[in-house]
Subunit: 306 residues, 2 copies
C-alpha cells in the first residue's frame, strides 16, 4: 500500500514537471517571437530586455495563466500573449527591484543583474520598455474579444500598480532593517508576489471566457497559492543552495528583510505554505479533471528546490 | 488694414489661450479624481505620484487628445481617461529621465525633481506606478467601445516603448557629449517627443470613432506638430528665462546634448518649427471649423514662451 502510494505520488510529480516543461517551451518560444530582436535599433536596449527575460526564469506565472485556461477548457482561446505579458511584468519588476537604489543586488539567477551587465540607465529603461510591452502583448498578441482583453489589462494594472506590486515594493523598502509585524510582512508578500499570481490565474480564465463561478474559484486559488509561493521562496532563501537558486542565499536576512521563517519559524512557515497550497487545491472542486495541472502546480510550488 | 490684422490675430491668440485654460481645468480635475489620494496607503508613493503630476505641467498632450476629439466632434465620446493616460505616461518619463543614472536633474518646473523630493527608490517606483496607471485609465476611465480602447493602448505602447519614447531616451543618453549628426538628432526628437504627441492626437480621434481619412490627416498633423514642439523646446532651452521655464536653462548645451539650434542654428530652427506647424495646419484641410483648436495649438506651440 505504502509502495503504491509512493509510486503514484512519483507518477503525478513526474506529470506536473512534464506539464511545466512543455509549457515552458511554448512560453519561451512565444517570448522569443514577440520580443524585439537584439539586432533591432536601439540594440543595447533590446539586448538588455532579452538578457533579463531569458535568464532562466521558472516561468511559473505564465504557466499558471495557461493552466487556468486549461481549467476553463475553451479550445478556441489562445492565452499565450497574456501569459507572456505577465512574465514581462514580473521581469521588469525584478530589474527595477535589483537596482542600486532599491535592493542593490549584483546577481539574479546566477548571472549579473541587468544594471550590472548594461548599466543603470539602460536597466531602468529596459524595465520601462518591458512593462510597456506587456500591455502591447495583450492588445496585439492575445486572441479573443476586446472586452476580455480590457478586463485582463484592468486585472494586471491593479495587480502591478500602486495598490499592488509597486505598493508592496515601497513598503518592503521602507521596512528594511526595522522590526516589522506579521500583518506588515503578509501585506508585503501579498502585494509584491501574491496579487500578480492571482491576476495571472484570473487573466487566463477571463480570456478563456470563464463564468462568474469559475472565476471566483480561481480567485480563491490564486490568493492562496500566491501567498504560498512567496512563503516557499522565503524558506528557500534561508535553506537554499546558491547553485540552485542562482542568487546570494540568505540575502533577505543579510539585508534585514523580514521573512516568514524569521517571524514565525521554519516549521510553522512550512506548515502554512502547505496549508495554503491545499486551500488552493480545495477551491478548485467546481472543476473536473481539467484543473489537475493547477492543483499539481500548487503542490509543486511549495515543494520546489529552486 | 494692418491694425485689423493685428487685432484679429490677438483675438485668435486669446481664443487658443482660453481653450487651453478651459481644457487644463478639466484635465486637472480629472487627474485629481483618478489619482489615488495622498492619504491612501502607501502614502509616500501616492504623494510622490501626485507631486510629479501636479507640478505645473502645460498639459499640452492631453489638451491635444481633447482637441483631436473636438475635431471629430462625436458628442457621445468622452476622452478624458485617455487624455489623463497620456499625461501620466509623459509624467512618468520625466521622473525617470531626471534620475541620477539618466539626466541627473535637480529641478523640474521650478521645483525639486521627484527623486530630490522623495528619494531615488520612490521616484523609480512612482514612475512605474504612473505608467501602469495610464493603462488602467484607458481600461477603466475611458468611455467607448472596448475595441477602440485596445487600439488606443496599442498606439500608446508603440509610442512609449522601445521603438518609441524609451528607445529615443536610450539614444539620447548614448549620444551625450558626442558629435551627433542631424538624422540622429531628429531620431531622438521624433522618438522622445514626437511619437507620444502623434499618439495623443490619434487616440483622441480613435476613441471618438474617427474614420480612416480623418485619422490619416490627424496623423500627418501629429507627426509635424510633434517635431515642431521639440524644436520649439530646444529654442526655449537656449534663450528661455529660468523663471518661465522653471528648470536650468541651457541645460542641454551644458550636458553636451545636441539641439536643433546647435546643429542648424537659431534662425533655421525657428524657420523649421514654423514650417512644421503650418504643415500640421495644412493637413487638417479635410476638417471644417471643428479643427480650429488643433490648428491654433500648432501655432501656439512654436510661439510659446515656456
Amino acid at each position: 500500500m505504502e509502495v503504491l502510494r509512493v509510486s503514484l505520488r512519483r507518477r503525478i510529480e513526474l506529470d506536473v514537471e512534464e506539464y511545466i516543461r512543455d509549457k515552458t517551451v511554448l512560453i519561451d518560444k512565444a517570448l522569443d517571437a514577440f520580443l524585439p530582436g537584439e539586432d533591432e535599433f536601439p540594440q543595447t536596449l533590446h539586448k538588455a530586455m532579452r538578457y533579463s527575460v531569458f535568464t532562466g526564469g521558472k516561468r511559473l506565472r505564465p504557466i499558471m495563466v495557461m493552466a487556468a485556461a486549461d481549467a476553463i477548457g475553451n479550445e478556441s482561446a489562445d492565452v499565450t500573449g497574456v501569459a507572456c505579458a505577465v512574465e514581462l511584468i514580473h521581469t521588469y519588476s525584478l530589474i527595477h527591484d535589483d537596482l542600486p537604489a532599491m535592493d542593490n543586488d549584483d546577481l539574479r539567477r546566477g548571472k549579473p543583474t541587468c544594471h550590472k551587465a548594461f548599466g543603470e540607465a539602460t536597466a531602468i529603461l529596459a524595465g520601462d520598455a518591458l512593462l510597456t510591452l506587456a500591455f502591447d502583448m495583450i492588445a496585439c498578441k492575445t486572441s479573443g474579444r476586446s472586452f476580455h482583453k480590457i478586463m485582463s489589462i484592468k486585472e494586471l494594472t491593479r495587480a502591478a500598480g500602486s495598490f499592488g506590486m509597486v505598493g508592496g515594493q515601497v513598503v518592503d523598502i521602507e521596512s528594511e532593517g526595522r522590526d516589522i509585524t506579521f500583518p506588515v510582512l503578509e501585506f508585503i508578500h501579498i502585494h509584491k508576489t501574491g496579487l500578480l499570481i492571482r491576476a495571472a490565474v484570473r487573466c487566463g480564465a477571463i480570456i478563456s471566457g470563464a463564468d462568474g463561478k469559475e472565476l471566483e474559484a480561481l480567485t480563491k486559488y490564486g490568493d492562496a497559492v500566491g501567498l504560498a509561493f512567496q512563503i516557499a521562496d522565503d524558506i528557500l532563501d534561508v535553506e537554499g543552495v546558491t547553485k540552485l537558486m542562482g542568487k546570494n542565499i540568505g540575502g533577505d536576512a543579510r539585508k534585514g528583510k523580514a521573512t516568514y521563517p524569521a517571524i514565525i519559524g521554519m516549521k510553522d512557515s512550512r506548515k502554512r505554505a502547505e496549508e495554503l497550497a491545499e486551500k488552493g487545491v480545495s477551491a478548485l472542486e467546481v472543476f473536473d479533471g481539467k484543473a489537475e495541472p493547477l492543483k499539481e502546480i500548487a503542490r509543486y510550488i511549495v515543494k520546489r528546490k529552486r
